[in-house]
């Protein structure tokens, strides 16, 4: 029965992957992950530090922001677990439960959370502590099964500043001291039946390190409704000042984008387009670099849209969502599909994301 335990544990013991996107939010993902030239808001600084130059507030405290992403496969598996009667010791029931996983080959069980406590903005300077964990496990090849798992944790503080040259041209920069820990591994079926003699080093590899990422962004707003921007994240790649093992280098990512606002009497339409990860280190299909999005919403009691719908093209797939400011907290929901493979359609993972954030602005 130890094999069962290993199997079950391997589903619980989730994940490291270097985040394709350092920061995320439900609203941004819902509109196709477009963020480079987005309108100023509480989330602007971390995606393009130049947007901090547009802030009109002297002080803003965001007590807590939580971004969570969960794959639909995780939801399905949790549902399977909940529907199973674990109080019974009937081995047939245990086996029938494990057999359910026979339908999950190739499905990635993915989860991610992003915790941002006590982010503080003073004039055009922002200090934003963060903890990000991204994890997955997947089973592949039913004829000769293998479990792959990956757990990636990043913790640090994002220090960003924006400068306005002439009202139309803004620049910004960010430095991000970051501790990075990653754990990755694979458990084959032969490991499973020889679990007693298996050393953890044989199936997993852990590495960690401390480094400083540097970002730079520009924003050009030729008219009140048109915005064009560019941002380079982790300039030169974030290496490590000190490390244990060989953690993955966080690669430089350059993105360009634009946004256009179409204002109606009460409701606004925002259209956004980004081309992200221009370096394209994995040789992905061009459609996976293109991000298109739109949001339809209106202001109620803040300077940002307080309620709205989002839709977009993200990673060659459609995305949808909504967001609403409930005064005490802002809630953003989105449904999207991540292309895990290098080529469109090879390996898609449907995901749900939710952001809950609160802020106090003076």
């Amino acid at each position: 029965m130890s094999a069962f335990r290993a199997l079950l544990l391997s589903f619980v013991y989730c994940s490291p992957v270097v985040a394709a996107e350092f920061f995320t939010s439900g609203r941004i993902i819902g509109r196709g992950n477009t963020s480079v030239a987005q309108y100023a808001g509480a989330q602007g600084g971390r995606f393009n530090p130049a947007t901090l130059a547009e802030t009109n507030s002297t002080f803003q405290l965001r007590p807590l922001e939580f971004n969570g992403i969960v794959g639909e496969n995780v939801v399905s598996t949790i549902s399977d677990i909940q529907s199973h009667d674990f109080s019974s010791n009937d081995s047939n029931k245990v086996i029938s439960f494990v057999r359910k996983f026979g339908d999950k080959f190739g499905e990635r069980h993915y989860g991610r959370f992003e915790l941002i406590p006590l982010a503080t903005q003073i004039f055009r300077f922002e200090a934003m502590p963060f903890v990000i964990n991204q994890s997955y496990i997947e089973i592949n090849r039913p004829t000769i099964p293998e479990f792959d798992f990956d757990v990636d944790t990043l913790a640090g503080i994002n220090l960003a500043y924006g400068y306005d040259f002439n009202g139309k041209f803004k620049v910004g920069g960010a430095v991000r001291p970051t501790y990075h820990h990653e754990l990755e591994g694979a458990l084959t079926f032969t490991d499973l039946i020889d679990l007693e003699n298996l050393e953890s080093e044989e199936i997993s590899k852990a590495a960690s390190g401390f480094g400083i990422g540097v970002d730079a962004g520009v924003l050009w707003t030729p008219t009140a409704t048109l915005r064009l921007g560019a941002v380079v994240q982790n300039i030169g790649g974030m290496g490590y000042l000190s490390s244990d093992g060989s953690p993955s280098v966080l690669l430089q990512s350059t993105s360009i984008g634009g946004a256009y606002a179409y204002k109606m009497s009460r409701w606004d339409f925002n259209f956004l387009a980004d081309v992200k990860h221009l370096e394209n280190p994995d040789g992905e299909h061009w459609i996976q670099l293109l991000n298109l999005g739109a949001e339809f919403g209106r202001q109620l009691f803040t300077r940002d849209l307080d309620i709205g719908l989002t839709a977009g093209l993200y990673d060659g797939n459609t995305s949808y969502g909504l967001f609403v400011d409930l005064w005490l907290a802002r809630v953003e929901l989105a449904k999207y599909t991540e292309e895990i493979g290098r080529q469109p359609g090879v390996k898609r993972d449907k995901r749900l994301t939710m952001t809950i954030s609160s802020s106090m602005t003076l």
């Binding site: 094999a3 086996i95 090849r141 004829t143 032969t190 459609t318 080529q343 090879v346």
Partner: protein, 296 residues
């Protein structure tokens, strides 16, 4: 009212999320081919996986492992199912280990109607893995060892049956031989012996694969003192079978043994290449040294 409309539209949008770009079924490089092949494997579309893998240009361990997965899947052989079946049949609380696993394994995993094709698939899979660019890497070596153990289960059973058949054919020849038994004409039943030997030769080929794939691996290891059922049989085969091959074997006074001294028999049984203790058991060694069913 506006808020209700907002909720309605958002519900409709949230209910549909799908891809816009179709799958490219003809990738232009090996990395994408391997990725696509794995996708097909996970979808249990083994013919398509094999089709993609045939276009892989650069040989690699991963390409070989995926080809093995597709080959086994093509004949309905799933290790996932086998492991679950074995665990299912184990008594409650029993720890799973390689010994318990192989002790619990039976030839039923090959099926009645699918036995020949599954044996062939495993055999070709072992050959593929033995010739892998880095065949000593743990992922390839352990998989190969595991397949060797499974092939061993059926091969020792088939070997035992083949030896019985050969023994029967030899007894028939000994009892019906005329003259000195120097030619086929003087040995009625020699055709049946050839048929039995052909079957034995197939088994011997598989046994060679078993020995090659299980050499230097921990899952199937005949060196220790505590041996599982397949390790016990392989050790017996190696110890008793690998004793060389003689033109005039000294194997007792049974009719089957005596028949081997007939020229019509030795002409088709004896080979000059069999060497005692070389770690390989030839067909001739099986016939001469295993007639007493002391090898399986």
């Amino acid at each position: 009212m506006q808020f209700l409309r907002f909720i309605l539209i958002s519900s409709i949008l949230m209910s549909c999320s799908d891809n816009l770009i179709p799958l490219n079924e003809s990738p232009s490089n090996d990395r994408d081919r391997l990725e696509l092949a794995e996708t097909y494997l996970n979808e249990r579309d083994y013919p398509k996986a094999l089709e993609v893998l045939q276009n892989v240009e650069v040989d690699s361990n991963r390409a070989r492992v995926l080809t093995v997965a597709a080959t086994l899947g093509g004949v309905g052989f799933s290790i996932w199912d086998i492991i679950l079946d074995v665990i299912d049949n184990q008594s409650s609380g029993e720890k799973i280990s390689p010994d318990n696993f192989f002790d619990s394994l039976s030839t039923s995993v090959f099926g009645e109607d699918t036995k020949a094709e599954r044996i062939a698939a495993i055999g070709s899979s072992i050959d593929l893995l033995l010739a892998a660019p880095d065949s000593s890497d743990a992922d390839v070596a352990n998989l190969n060892c595991f397949l060797g153990g499974i092939l061993g289960v059926v091969s020792v059973e088939d070997g035992s049956a083949a030896i019985t058949s050969v023994s029967s054919s030899l007894t028939t020849i000994q009892n019906s031989a005329v003259g000195a038994g120097a030619s086929r004409d003087e040995c009625p039943g020699v055709t049946e012996l050839e048929t039995s030997l052909a079957t034995l030769s197939e088994v011997q080929t598989n046994l060679q694969r078993v020995f090659a794939s299980t050499a230097n691996c921990s899952l199937v290891n005949t060196d220790g003192s505590s041996l599982n059922s397949i390790e016990t049989k392989l050790k017996a085969l190696e110890t008793n079978g690998d004793q060389g091959c003689e033109a005039q074997p000294d194997c007792g006074d049974s009719a089957a043994c005596q028949a081997q001294s007939l020229s019509c028999v030795s002409a088709i049984v004896v080979d000059d290449s069999s060497v005692a203790g070389d770690g390989q058991v030839s067909s001739c060694e099986l016939v001469q040294n295993c007639l007493g069913n002391n090898c399986f």
